[in-house]
Amino acid sequence: MTAPAPAPDFGRFVAASAAAGRLVVQPRMGFGDPGRMRAGLARTRAATAHTAGTLTVDSYTRVGDLAAARAAVAEGSRLNGYPIAAHSPATTRAVLDGLFDADFPVQVRHGSARPLAIVRALTAAGLDATEGGPVSYCLPYGRTPLRESVTAWARACELLATGARPGAVPHLESFGGCLLGQLCPPGLLVATSVLECLFFMQFGLRSVSLSYAQQTDPAQDEEALRALHRLAAEFLPDGIDHHVVLYTYMGVYPRTEQGATRLLEASARLAVRSGAGRLIVKTTAEAHRLPTVEENVRALETAAAAAALAGPPAPDPAAEGGGEVYEEARTLVETVLGLHPDLSRALPAAFERGLLDVPFCLHPDNAGRSLGFVDPGGRLRWARTGAMPIRPDAAADAAPLTSAGLLAALHHVADRYDSPRHRDRDSHRDSGEGHDRPQATPLTV
């Protein structure tokens, strides 16, 4: 008699991998066609890497236009993701059949501001791990009012926490460490991840992950990831399963294959040395178009190989003091928690008063008074902080932001990695020292 396969458990899978010294790597992959989606998952599972699978949802489903998603499926149009609410639960189960198990958890990635239909569809198909957050996928991108997103996310959390199959431990990852992807100084990214995970817990989740997206400077990124660990330990109660997930650079990506590969490898080393349990990879196709399955598999294997060669995590150089990113993030978290014990009230209140303020964010519920810049050493700093309880950098230039300055800042990382001069420093530790950087870059403010 065969025992039933143990239930896949996203958090436990990452924890067990970390205990075995292996970084979990995960693609961002979604196809409209169930057959292609299944093939993508099968190839991800078979990759020479410790992988988790991904169903990335298409953008019609993400904005709640299920009619458009269904119409596209009916017409056979190619979509930019898997329309989980347009396909039946049976179709999704067939996509997962024989692939999704304790050795291969699958996460649904979407980041919708109104995620109920997606959460209903994923639980109906037997899945229980997803991603997003009331702030992190409302403010930076769409036009859903923040209060509506908070209400929708509270209900989605409750549904995920209670609606998953018996024995499952549903997992929710905050997208808070990404916000607009680039040019947001790390303190706000770290604070948003912590606050969203606290929000998820308030509405019933017991297993969460805190995200952070690689930015412009390896040393600053390491500091941010350590701050995330430390704040998670301080603010999440005992018994809440959690891990840290790093995203390979989310902004403008290097155009050359070599530059793109080096940036991916640098993110894998950063993940290992700062104790992240999981890495969301990028491909060499990123600067040009949506990647193929093969390109995703290559990225997973490249990242896994770089991680395996990276050696054990380094001790935390700021273990005693905390550091600048930690102090800034802690101040933001405490300020928001001080507004109201219920985060579904505290978060909108914080944005209303500009106590949280995402730079370059066009959403009407964001104060829009903060601004980030890349300093001459390559570190991200605040030029303006608006009403946030943190100070801007005194050295910030007061010149107005121009399109050329913005473009240079957006391309700062890509240009550095595409530069032929970068080639010789491959073996350097990404510590921020020894970088052959171009001169001071340019996000003038």
């Binding site: 904005v63 236009d65 991108y141 036009r143 607009l180 949506l290």
Partner: protein, 136 residues
């Protein structure tokens, strides 16, 4: 010129919009920004309310063709906007290369130009419209 700048209905990208606003302002244009994820109805309402001299639609997420077609059809269905210049730029599909059949259908539906990512072409498109505005 007064330009209405907007993302398309299912497209959440904003760096393109942040950049284009600065770029258009530096060309001397006045910009009204609708932001990302603007459904066709909102775009229509924005055009009627702000009476722009041109509409710039920008799409990155691979649904530029579908969303752009719906948007331009909605605008052209409104008689008051029959002569409003509309330009679509960015990515039309997920394939990574331009599909000429998509461009032709967008043009048939009333798009004055479909530009890809060429900012010089956008500058020239707007400059040509601006000259027409000047009375003889």
């Amino acid at each position: 010129m007064k330009i209405l700048l907007s993302g398309t209905a299912s497209d959440s990208h904003t760096w393109n919009l942040v950049y284009l606003r600065l770029f258009l302002q530096e060309q001397g244009h006045q910009v009204v920004g609708l932001g990302p994820c603007a459904p066709a109805e909102l775009l229509l309402a924005g055009c009627l309310r702000h009476a722009p001299d041109a509409v710039v639609l920008s799409s990155v997420n691979g649904h530029g063709y579908r969303d752009g077609l719906a948007a331009v059809r909605r605008l052209r269905a409104e008689p008051a906007l029959a002569g409003l210049p509309v330009v679509l730029g960015g990515k039309l599909g997920v394939a990574g290369h331009r599909q000429e059949a998509d461009v032709a259908r967008l043009t048939e539906a009333g798009c004055d130009a479909v530009l890809g990512e060429d900012l010089d072409a956008l500058r020239e498109f707007l400059a040509a419209r601006a000259r027409k505005e000047v009375p003889a």
